[in-house]
């Protein structure tokens, strides 16, 4: 069950906005399809991220995938322990495997609610 207070991108990032700050991560669907994760590259605190642009990379045994920002704004916190604990992504993709907290200046118009995202995942197979 995906949390219904999160919004989602088709590219399988999620964000949860509270008091003008968005917590960002990737979904269980992304984690299961990437499989065998080996490396995660995240921006530093103070960096800015832009809607639709890559804010980092995640690497599996076979491939590198870009991570796309669902919102624009300044990075106010980074989950620094996550790159050394990639197993958290499978254990709790919406919990302790959060990636960034970003002070929101704009939101992607393409964000979906959980119902639409569930349907999107089902369609992708």
């Amino acid at each position: 069950m995906r949390p219904n207070d999160c919004k989602f991108l088709k590219s399988h990032e999620w964000c949860k906005i509270e008091n003008g700050v968005a917590t960002i991560g990737i979904t269980d669907y992304a984690v299961s399809h990437l499989s065998d994760l080996v490396f995660l590259d995240l921006p530093k605190q103070g960096a800015s991220v832009t809607i639709g642009e890559s804010f980092g990379e995640i690497e599996s045994v076979k491939a590198v995938s870009s991570l796309y920002a669902p919102i624009s704004g300044e990075v106010v916190a980074v989950n620094k322990d996550l790159p050394d604990h990639l197993e958290w992504l499978a254990e709790a993709p919406f919990g302790k495997a959060w990636m960034l907290k970003v002070k929101v200046s704009a939101q992607s118009p393409d964000l979906m609610d959980v119902k639409a995202y569930d349907a999107h995942c089902k369609a992708e197979g």
């Binding site: 499989s35 065998d36 080996v38 490396f39 045994v61 076979k62």
Partner: protein, 363 residues
């Protein structure tokens, strides 16, 4: 999308299926690195139903193949196999193939890449116009299953009366497997001992299940395309679309051993010109990197801030326990031990040139 006869078998085994060269294929059943280790230490079973399979026969079959591809078919004894390439007139690689001379010396069998099957068949039919030869696409009438790994012979021998110890590397026999007449070759794409069997359509599942069940107690498991790529890369075998493609010639790819200039094949003149010029100025090399990042296809290689090459394939090697890559570099940077850097998101990471193969099994 096309499906092999074993598609539902893979799904039932829990495989992650992906589109590959127009086929729905298993990329992994378990963790990719674990699958690769299984093949190095025990045995693995591969569905290769997607690969192209072509019979070539007729009075001028040998002359046709001499024109079509780079190796010297006249030198292949009955029941033996050679690696070769199909080139275009510019000497650029259209595909890499295996050429089998029938054990009874009554024709040939050619195995080609899934992604190039349609183009290869077109080239073959075009070249065939000048010869008394029949080119017969058997991709749909034959399945293909490989068993690879040190226990391959022990497991396979349970299902065939053919004497496998007598089948040499790159040799093949007509025999029966699970009571079904078929051909079997001592070939593979992993760097391990092993066999590939060409199963008449309709019998694939019977053969797969027999090997799978009998091999399970020896540690045999099904292996997907992900581990297959890792294994072939460790063993220094090129993959079409990575080390070789229609922008590379076999000389710069280090495949000159599969090119015999004693016969007149398509692309020979272009290769002669390359030889006369002393090469193309670049060479395929191996790279090792202990960086946290793995060098991947397309990443630039730099030396002193200047780009001097690019990566063709990169893998995390479970056997060497480090990152391995193959890359084209300018020849002056091709010597083993040369320190280079690869760029990942504009960040430079160190790597070192070394010989391939990265892995050679103990014989």
């Amino acid at each position: 999308m096309q499906a092999t006869a074993l598609e539902s078998t893979h799904v039932a085994l829990g495989a992650r299926m992906v589109p590959f060269a127009g086929w729905n294929m298993p990329v992994q059943y378990r963790a990719i690195l674990d699958e690769a280790r299984t093949v190095r230490t025990r045995a693995g079973l591969f569905d290769l139903g997607h690969m192209g399979r072509v019979k070539v026969h007729g009075r001028q079959a040998e002359a046709f193949l001499q024109r079509l591809q780079t190796n010297d078919v006249a030198a292949i004894p009955p029941g033996r196999i050679r690696y070769a390439m199909i080139l275009n007139e510019q000497g650029l690689t259209q595909d890499d193939i295996l050429v089998y001379r029938n054990p009874k010396n009554d024709g040939f069998f050619v195995v080609i890449n899934a992604g190039n099957t349609e183009r290869d068949l077109g080239i073959m039919r075009s070249v065939a116009k000048a010869f008394d030869v029949v080119v017969e696409d058997c991709t749909r009438s034959l399945g293909m299953i490989a068993i690879q790994g040190p226990l391959s012979q022990q497991i396979t021998q349970r299902f065939t009366k053919g004497d496998l110890a007598a089948v040499k590397y790159y040799g093949w026999i007509d025999t029966t497997v699970c009571g079904i007449p078929m051909t079997l070759s001592r070939t593979g794409y992993t760097g391990e001992d092993g066999f590939e069997v060409y199963v008449p359509t309709g019998h694939e599942k019977k053969v797969w299940d027999a090997f799978f069940e009998a091999g399970a107690k020896d540690g045999l498991t099904a292996i997907g395309l992900g581990a297959r790529d890792t294994l072939r890369h460790e063993a220094g075998m090129p993959l079409y679309g990575h080390e070789i493609d229609e922008t590379t010639n076999p000389l710069e790819a280090g495949l000159d051993w599969a090119v015999k200039m004693n016969h007149d094949f398509v692309g020979k003149q272009a290769l002669e010109q390359v030889l006369a010029k002393g090469g193309t100025g670049r060479k395929l090399v191996g790279l090792l990197s202990t960086s946290k990042r793995c060098p991947r296809q397309g990443y630039p290689l730099v030396k002193g801030g200047q780009q001097i090459g690019h990566v063709c394939s990169g893998n995390i090697s479970p056997t060497l326990d480090t990152n391995i890559a193959t890359a084209y570099v300018r020849t002056e940077f091709a010597a083993p031990g040369t320190q280079l850097e690869f760029l990942v998101r504009d960040k430079a990471e160190p790597c070192t040139v070394r010989e391939t193969p990265f892995y050679k099994r103990a014989k």
